[in-house]
Symmetry: C2
Subunit: 423 residues, 2 copies
């Protein structure tokens, strides 16, 4: 320690109001604090004088009690019953890109069923040379792939079509998770059964009472779809389709059939309930857009946000959020603090990968002014995330699904934030 | 469905003993089964006629009860007390590369303490221009990075030096995990304090009673070390150092100080207990190698293995495992079924990334013969994982730490596997 402390980055240090310098000659924002001994440093604390938990305390661990608020949450008024409902990933409190399974959103049509590996069967039938049935053990014998993909419910942000409604990124954008999946390419299983030239579609269904049947073009089925049995390294959770779910990269989450029991090769789509009365986009004139599977490029600032206000006052501020696109990799994210009048390119934590969440940061200084905070994603196809006004020009106000418009948080001088409409 | 099923890949299909064809004319390995209706397909099951759990069943979920054996385990005779002990990641049952925090190995020197974010302080002192103290909230204001890294205990496989001992990949190689960390580069904080030219080392310590103090060369500290507060997106778990731990990529796990409380810049190393009496490599003549921080390239077959035997008989078999190197990316993994006489290059699930786990697969056919199954990792520096004999030539039999020798599983005709010594 020198007698005369040299300031290598005084401008930054002045902003760091909370970073107290210790010892004489301190020149940071709050030198007064340094003169007052901090008992958390100067006194031996309980945790430094006693022993903690042994290694057999939790064979499978859970988050510490102080993180008890970082959990999935549902919105009671959204659905009549939790059995056919959804809950939301606490994206406002997460960082990085991987979503732990324990807090990754769930959507069920007839509840999360329990199905043992031993009772699992997957049938491939229809326009194939040889209809086949696979057990779970059979699936494990095929060549596997590992890929990180996002899964987004088509209804994510759907409640925001007509105006700002839910006050938190968890609720406006939390119908999304991003995991590393291990599984067998569906293509491999279809080739094992032998697809007839007349086959143009597949119809996939789950083992639960809803079956949640969906039609998927054969071209997609033979491309990057996985029959997955692991997520983030371990078995799928009950609520995510244990033991086997379909992974349909970049496409809406309800096609990611859980408890996958059957794949039928067909010459035309079924036009099932979930792809006609549900999961189509109602336009202004009352007609519907159908086959809107691909999730458009989208992003959201996760902090600051209504559930993650600024508590530290002015000075250095990390603005962060998530971006994704069903069309491929995210190539850039712009951030605006003035409701879209001007934009600054954010830093991507890592280059975007295909159909996976990308984390972005804007390292900035906040002068205490109000902000109308927005983010705007761009993807490898050249697509740029639209404003709400642009999206409504095409689809009106009646849609439920596929709202990928730019989101605005009004950050007040107090640091609190609120969901507002800036079209 | 055609009348005369065409076989597109009969050779493969014949091996798939469990894949029953349905309907008449089936030509797979077990046509007899196809003639017997499978009630799991032909009868409506309970889970398809009732409702499952609603979305508010588990705000933070745990693995399904059927996966209750996929947990961390300790070995009672290894240590006198669980407070200063270790448990092991169930790598034999995982796939992909991400390790869920809930089953990621723990190593404590005085138990896992509980430390609230509000009570957290990080001091940087010693040969710096301005000693500084950061609160948790301060740390969140610095630019963050996200990186996936493995963390391996120096003692991983240490019990195997003198011969095959523990019967399972979880126990021989389970002192490893691989997570996506979010944190502030330590370099940023050191630059904030201003490192004096005389500073050549840092000494880092934790807030627990052991403090687990370790010296780290300044060059490494200024390179890729992170002061991390998230792993796999969410807060660190209590057992992994909540709220803040050091991440020292590629270097032995005991330097990844948990509950990080102090970083002192020094002109020389401290030569603390944990880097002199512990965590040095005892050689044949009783002397020790010191400063052996970097983890050499290593790999292990996780399946088949003693805890993950072959249960499906002959035919298609997926051999899989993990490889890693503290020196950079894994460039290749070779697999041998004859105890190292011949090698076949395995398929990497994704290109190796710097100092992170890489998953490898060898998709093969098993004829039912016994195998002496091995894997051999190669890294970007050109280093090739050694045999036990090669390693012992240099270090003898008395070492505890840094055993990165090739591991052998003896897979018997029954499909059961056993840890054996092939030097």
């Amino acid at each position: 320690m020198t007698d005369k402390p040299k300031q290598t980055s005084p401008s930054r240090r002045q902003f760091l109001a909370g970073a107290a310098a210790v010892g004489a000659g301190a020149v940071t924002g709050r030198p007064a604090e340094a003169a007052t001994p901090d008992p958390l440093i100067t006194e031996v604390q309980d945790w430094a004088s006693g022993l903690g938990d042994g290694v057999d305390a939790t064979p499978y661990g859970l988050p510490i009690e102080h993180e008890a608020d970082v959990v999935r949450r549902n919105v009671e008024w959204l659905t009549a019953d939790t059995i056919s409902s959804i809950n939301f990933t606490p994206i406002h409190a997460l960082d990085g890109t991987i979503t732990p399974q324990g807090c990754a959103f769930e959507r069920h049509h007839s509840g999360a069923i329990e199905l043992r590996k031993e009772d699992y069967r997957l049938m491939i039938n229809g326009l194939v040379d040889t209809p086949l049935v696979f057990t779970y053990a059979d699936l494990e014998r095929f060549p596997r792939e590992n890929r990180v993909y996002f899964c987004e419910c088509a209804a994510n942000s759907g409640m925001e079509w007509a105006g700002a409604q839910l006050n938190g990124a968890q609720f406006t954008h939390g119908m999304i998770h991003n995991m590393e999946y291990s599984g067998v390419p569906l293509r491999t299983l279809l080739e094992e059964a032998g697809v007839n030239p007349a086959g143009k579609w597949i119809y996939v269904e789950g083992a639960d009472a809803s079956s949640n049947g969906r039609s998927i073009p054969l071209e997609k089925a033979m491309d990057d779809v996985l029959v997955a049995f692991k997520a983030n390294g371990e078995a799928l959770r009950k609520e995510h389709g244990y033991p086997v779910r379909l992974v349909v990269p970049g496409w809406e989450g309800n096609m990611w059939i859980k408890w996958l029991r059957r794949v039928e090769v067909m010459d035309q789509p079924v036009e099932s309930r979930e792809e006609t009365s549900k999961y189509t986009d109602t336009l202004a004139d009352g007609t519907s857009r159908k086959w809107t599977w691909e999730m458009d490029a989208k992003s959201v600032v996760t902090s600051p946000s209504p559930q993650s206000p600024i508590k530290h006052g002015t000075g250095p501020l990390v603005i962060t959020g998530l971006a994704w696109s069903g069309r491929g990799a995210i190539t850039g994210v712009d951030v605006s603090v003035d409701g879209g009048k001007s934009w600054t390119e954010a830093r991507l934590a890592a280059p975007g990968t295909d159909k996976a969440l990308t984390r972005f940061y804007l390292d900035t200084n906040w002068d205490g002014s109000e902000m109308l905070l927005q983010s705007r994603a761009r993807d490898a196809s050249g697509y740029v995330q639209p404003t709400k006004a642009q999206l409504r020009e095409v689809r009106g106000l009646n849609s439920i699904y596929h709202n990928n418009a730019i989101q605005t948080w009004w950050v007040k001088a107090s640091g609190e934030a609120e969901n507002v409409e800036v079209s």
